[in-house]
């Protein structure tokens, strides 16, 4: 198994952190992981993104040239990364913010009203975790438990009091596609 | 001069100085050596030689020495002092080294209050490379790169290092002294001693600017050179203590 994921949005939407969380969870499960922030020509164009690789075997190239999964948190990210998804890839759209139709019909597309759900829990800042929850349920690449444990390790001290909300956001994301576990 | 009047301090090696007749470096080396002997810190002192006529200072001082790149002695001394905070660390620099190529290093070492001592020899020109204009060359002074005399229109004005550094909060002791006659040499030694004592107390950066002569490049006899210094350099570079932290008495 080699999962190549791009998580893209505006700066401040927690895209880099979401990727780190995923990488951390993969590491806790003994998988090979890498995390790369935007680099090269990718830096331009109003998006922040990171590329995560999770694999059972050693990762040769940590670049994500042809993602199997893309999370999009804003329109520029959709326009930039949807065309790059490999055929049959998974596109997770934060439908609270991105309304545009996707032209490709060779993708598995999931709309997640992440901001709406997040606001109900506490604040739109949790939208990234709702998206991550959805991804966990849909793929099982890493388990909810690993992500929850990673959260405990990686949340900065000043955000620790938000831990229960973070977990809840993950669970609500999962609930969209089945039972949270 | 002073060389022949006293016995050799323990802190000077028997190597004969290579300096020109009447050059101030020999006198100033001896003053530093005497102070280190008197303070009994020879075995815990690390000196930093700079690039200029005094580049070979590591041969003459009988304690551990490092030789630094041109202008960088204060940075090298910073590295040493941060590793060995209980040792006595000093630099010995000329005016080209300190006030031209190494200006950033001296200003920042002073601003950081680096607990080192700087012996700054101002001889109003670049001695080693053959008497070119220095940042301390006086207006109208002839050098090999200001043959018609330093034009302030073209080359600007000399830098008064002591005054400039004294505006900073990091220095604990800054004084300008001269060696153009024996009473001044005596005062110069006192200032150098104060600077090292201040370093030993650990209260901040210390610097003694020593006005010195360069008869060879100035094209004068040694005695003429001292008179020239007194007449021309003293008015532009007034002697005195520019900074003395509490616990250090003002010069008498």
């Amino acid at each position: 198994m080699t999962e190549k994921i791009i998580i893209a949005g505006f700066g401040g939407q927690g895209v880099l952190f979401t990727g780190q969380l995923l990488a951390y969870a993969g590491m806790m499960e003994g998988k090979h992981v890498s995390w790369i922030p935007s680099y090269g020509a990718e830096m331009r164009g109003g998006t922040a993104h990171c590329a995560v690789t999770i694999a059972d075997e050693e990762i040769s190239s940590p670049l994500v040239e042809e993602p199997g999964t893309v999370f999009v948190f804003n329109l520029p990210s959709l326009l930039k990364f949807a065309p790059r998804l490999k055929p049959g890839g998974m596109l997770l759209i934060n439908s609270s913010l991105v309304k545009q139709e996707v032209k490709r019909n060779d993708l598995r597309i999931y709309s997640v009203p992440a901001n709406q759900i997040a606001e109900k829990i506490k604040s739109a800042q949790l939208a990234n975790l709702v998206m991550l929850g959805a991804y966990l349920k849909l793929t099982g690449v890493v388990s909810f438990h690993s992500v929850a444990a990673s959260l405990e390790k990686t949340l900065p001290a000043r955000r620790r009091h938000l831990l229960p909300y973070n977990r809840q956001a993950l669970e609500e994301g999962m609930r969209l596609f089945g039972e949270p576990n | 001069m002073a060389n022949t009047l006293f016995v050799r301090p323990e802190t000077l090696t028997p190597d004969p100085f290579h300096y020109c007749p009447g050059c101030g470096h020999g006198i100033i080396h001896r003053l530093v050596a005497e102070v280190i002997d008197e303070l009994g810190v020879r075995e815990t002192t690390i000196g930093v030689a700079s690039v200029g006529c005094s580049v070979l200072a590591y041969k003459y001082f009988n304690f551990d020495m490092q030789q630094a790149a041109h202008g960088r002695a204060p940075a090298v001394a910073t590295g040493i002092k941060r590793v060995l905070p209980d040792r006595v660390v000093f630099t010995y620099q000329g005016d080209g080294d300190l006030a031209s190529i190494g200006l950033a290093e001296i200003v920042h070492a002073a601003a950081r209050g680096e607990k080192i001592t700087v012996i700054f020899v101002n001889n109003a020109n670049y001695g080693m490379t053959g008497g070119q204009m220095a940042p301390t060359t006086l207006p109208g002074q002839k050098t090999t790169t200001s043959p018609a005399g330093r034009s302030v229109d073209q080359a600007g004005y000399p830098i008064r290092v002591s005054e400039m550094l004294a505006t900073l909060d990091g220095p604990a002791y800054i004084a300008r002294v001269s060696i153009h006659n024996p009473p001044q040499i005596f005062k110069a030694k006192k200032a150098i001693r104060k600077a090292f004592e201040t370093q030993l107390r650990g209260t901040g950066f210390t610097l003694v600017e020593v006005l010195s002569s360069c008869p060879t490049n100035w094209g004068m006899k040694p005695a003429e050179a001292f008179s020239w210094l007194e007449k021309n350099m003293l008015p532009y570079f007034p002697l005195g203590e520019y900074k003395a932290a509490s616990g250090v008495s003002q010069d008498d």
């Binding site: 992981v33 995390w35 940590p62 | 030789q67 590295g79 950033a104």
Partner: protein, 358 residues
């Protein structure tokens, strides 16, 4: 236990575990996380972090601290490394051990802040004035940022030389799991030559001035002997699928990993491709490369520059079979593009040499 770390931070932590307690540096992207990390970490470890007024000051502080016997490090990128070169020459001449990190960015001039390998020549040819070289280690993953940093300090002390870690902005910024050394270095090798105060011994002098040419030639000879010993003993490379390879790809650092992916895919497509990744750039692992390429029909060098390591590759295997692919200015080659080069070269040499199916 593994932890997830950024490359720049991994170098910092590894340095501390290797017994480095002094760091002098100046901010420049993309290595700044290293400064930031050590500004927290070194005081904790009883060491000193000092932000110098410039890269020039920083390298000369390293000179002072190394001369005082400490394990010491500095880091920078592109323009900062140019400023450090006079100091590095002095360090090499005075035989002072220290570690210098270059997290490369695109140049020339102010260039950009994106990853690059454009400082290969500067790093591997000494960089400053005078006849000298210094060991240059090129990590390709965050774990190697750790391992090679520890190694760099060992080599520095063993040979009394500055050692450079040559990384790039991508390696510096990426995160991967790392295993930190279990036992931190607490005891440093004795340095009887250091200037620590002459109590109970003759005075020590750290100096690079030799006005007598006979003496200076002798000093140079001694240095050259040391460089020859390092060349003989310390060259390292990683090899991948080189046995029976028709095409050998040569790349270092992050590019080698991207190339590895291309080599893997090429193999799956029936092209016998292999990879040699120099881990030491100086000394260049020319024997390893020459042996790996002995039966290959083509050698493809891939770099993030206009072609610098290729000169060392040619020295190792001859001009004839060597091809080049590079990106510049912060552009990162993709594995697809490298694969395309491999296929193209496969096509060229097929007529001439008959490339066999894997």
């Amino acid at each position: 236990m593994k932890i997830l770390m950024k490359g720049n931070e991994a170098i910092g932590e590894a340095a501390v575990l290797a017994g480095c307690r002094y760091f002098f540096g100046y901010p420049i992207t993309p290595q700044t996380e290293l400064l930031e990390y050590l500004s927290r970490r070194l005081p904790e470890a009883g060491g000193v972090f000092l932000q110098a007024e410039s890269e020039i000051a920083a390298i000369n502080m390293v000179y002072g601290a190394a001369g005082a016997g400490a394990r010491v490090m500095t880091s920078s990128s592109g323009p900062g490394l140019s400023l450090k070169q006079e100091g590095i020459s002095f360090l090499a001449a005075a035989e002072l051990p220290c570690v210098i990190v270059n997290v490369m960015r695109g140049g020339p001039g102010l260039g950009g802040i994106q990853p690059s390998q454009a400082d290969y020549f500067q790093a591997t040819r000494g960089g400053g004035h005078g006849d000298y070289r210094l060991p240059v280690l090129a990590p390709a993953c965050v774990q190697e940022m750790v391992d090679l940093t520890v190694r760099a300090f060992t080599l520095a002390d063993q040979y009394r030389t500055p050692v450079m870690i040559l990384a790039d902005g991508l390696l510096g910024q990426m995160m991967e799991p790392v295993e930190l050394p279990a036992a931190p270095v607490n005891e440093l090798p004795a340095k009887p030559w250091a200037t620590t105060g002459c109590k109970g011994r003759q005075k020590n002098i750290i100096n690079t001035l030799y006005l007598n040419p006979e003496e200076l030639e002798a000093v140079n000879q001694r240095l050259q002997e040391k460089f020859a010993a390092i060349t003989k003993k310390e060259a390292r490379a990683e090899e991948y699928l080189v046995e029976n390879a028709d095409i050998i790809v040569v790349a270092f650092g992050i590019v080698a990993r991207i190339a590895k992916e291309a080599v893997k895919v090429a193999h799956a497509q029936g092209i016998r491709a292999g990879l040699v990744r120099p881990v030491t750039l100086w000394p260049f692992p020319e024997k390893i490369l020459a042996a790996a390429a002995a039966r290959a029909k083509a050698v493809l060098t891939v770099e993030m520059n206009a072609g610098q390591m290729i000169e060392d590759v040619r020295l190792a295997v001859g001009n004839e079979r060597v091809h080049f692919y590079g990106r510049m200015g912060g552009m990162v080659p993709t594995s697809k593009a490298i694969l395309e080069q491999i296929r193209k070269i496969g096509g060229i040499v097929r007529g001439k040499y008959a490339v066999r199916p894997a």
